[in-house]
Symmetry: C2
Subunit: 239 residues, 2 copies
Amino acid sequence: MMERQIDSDIRELKELILTMGGCVEKAIEEATQALILREPKRFALVFEQEAKINELHIRVDDTCVRIIAKQGPLAADLRWVIASIKINTDLERMGDQAVNIAHNGARYLTEPPLKPLIDLPRMAQQVREMVRGCLDAFVRKDLALAEQVISKDDVVDGYKNEIFDELRNYMIKDPLSVERALNLILIARNLERLGDHSTNIAEDVIYALTGRDIRHGHVSLDQIHAELHSHTQGKKVTP
Amino acid sequence: MMERQIDSDIRELKELILTMGGCVEKAIEEATQALILREPKRFALVFEQEAKINELHIRVDDTCVRIIAKQGPLAADLRWVIASIKINTDLERMGDQAVNIAHNGARYLTEPPLKPLIDLPRMAQQVREMVRGCLDAFVRKDLALAEQVISKDDVVDGYKNEIFDELRNYMIKDPLSVERALNLILIARNLERLGDHSTNIAEDVIYALTGRDIRHGHVSLDQIHAELHSHTQGKKVTP
């Protein structure tokens, strides 16, 4: 059976996005490891990845526009292309956040360490799992995994709040810690935003898979499950 | 002459986005004025606007998908629809930033004021001009205005850096100021991000108008001007 042109176009689009996602993962890894291991030279690798991400950002957009104009995709195909446009935007901004971590981290590393890095390495680990999870959900069309990513966002926010509280206390107790604590607070913010972007991507994957928009409580995941379930039983579902 | 269906669809789309933009402007106005005038009750109005923004966010996305599926837009029409998808995302996140300002502002107002609000009101004013500017550029298809918005982003970043420096000094000198200074730093960050989103929207308007992607220095504004100029002289331009 001949492959449809639209299928090979969408496969190409997916490969571009996965390459871009790989660069984003690498950028976050270098930024956080440079900070944790106190190896400022590694920050340079973040900027290398960002340049690649920006190049891919433009290629993905061009590819999406070309597919819509040339193939006139419908239904599920169109949803994947629209989701790709949005995922592309999030990935590009995730590259920016990795760069922000590199900037804030480079400033932090000019001074001796604040006692421990608190929960920051653990928060970074959670965020990296969210990033990996939303990309895997995208490539495998895995609804359950996309949902897992979304549920992790609260864990990341919890870490951020704890880190904020602890660093605020440092600053109150010791004026000499203000500069460093502030840099770490900004890094916790950057990580939180990376988690938010991963959540956005997971939501776009769910939209592409189901045609349902779960943002703003418009449809709940429970509703989607109920519908998918009744679909498999051959019942008709009103959207 | 009959209006084309695509023209009336795109007009409807524009009106939705403008309504949404109006809600975003109102949310930012209420959030910043509540802070500046110390009227915490006004923060509730921010949440009201956010609910409307979230509702419109879904409607705009639905409208874009419907136009692409039903009308198969090409060239400039397709660029406006793609730009609308992206602008929609930015506007929704601007609503989130207004809500963040409300949260941080509400915490700030539980204590007596830190001497002056420093340059924060001026920064807020600049950001509100950027927001208004990018929406006006969108509705009027005004390339020059979109460029003005982008050029203001440096001014906003400059304010943010000054505010950061000043607040950092407060925190070092007076431990009692840490909590409040930190809230103001986060608000300056929220305002900075509102400026970033306005820049993104202005870039999307330029893309829709010219078909050129000015992000990441892919094409410079000077190049676009040179091309538009040679177009008006009837010369052929290779894209």
